[in-house]
Amino acid sequence: MPPRAPAPSAASAFDFASLVRRHQAMVFSIAWHLLRDRAVAEELAQDVFLSLHQHLAEMESAEHVLFWLRRVTSNRALDVARRRQRRPMVSLESAPEPVAVTPTGDPLLGTALKKLVAALPEKARAIVVLRYQEDLDPAEIARVLGIPVGTVKSQLQRALALLREKLSRVVGQASGPVPGKE
């Protein structure tokens, strides 16, 4: 579960610099996982924080800030992804990998999964990223993306089935059974 921000009582209590430090990994990572382009993700993350600074007076609580950042980042990243309408400009193999906070899991499997997630349709990718990066439940994802909960659930199920199937084809034969399918 990602760390939750403590709740300041009023908008005036927000220290912008500490807000940036607290949420920068979350904002940058959503953009990075949706766009697979470090430079674009960084620029988008900066734009999101600039926008937050302009709307700081409207923020009512720490939860409001967190929700606002997730929603704005996801929507902007989806807009960029739709505008580009093509796969990442730099291949995953040649792209520099951002610094990992806590490297866990199988690195080969992880790389394959990242590739497969990057190949999902934009909306499904956003749902998967919000589910597994941010640990949000379908209702929270629906609120962030402004879509029905049913759509989130069905798209998530379809995306997971697709990822499992493709992963078993990519690494299943080489390294044995896919985790969770034994």
Partner: protein, 103 residues
Amino acid sequence: MASFEDELRSALRRREPPQDFTERVLARVAAAPVRSATRMSQPWVRWVAAIAAALLLAVGSLEYRHYQGERAKSQILLAVRIAGGKLNKAQKKVQMVTHRSNS
């Protein structure tokens, strides 16, 4: 062995942006023009503006209806005046004809 979802969670874990990210954001904030519309962003100001706009529309609509009524009234009066004139003329002619036939 970790489950498929744990592997996904691990692959999609948060990543830190470059170390000078915060400083760059703060520099951009400092360089950005100050928004003068902060007062407008207050919810109560937006409500007052919306109510004022609705009132203005309502008053404008009433005024327009009043103007249309006045215009229709003057057109009816003009029509009545023209019709009256014509009736007068016809009446005079009828009187003349009656007077001639009597004499």
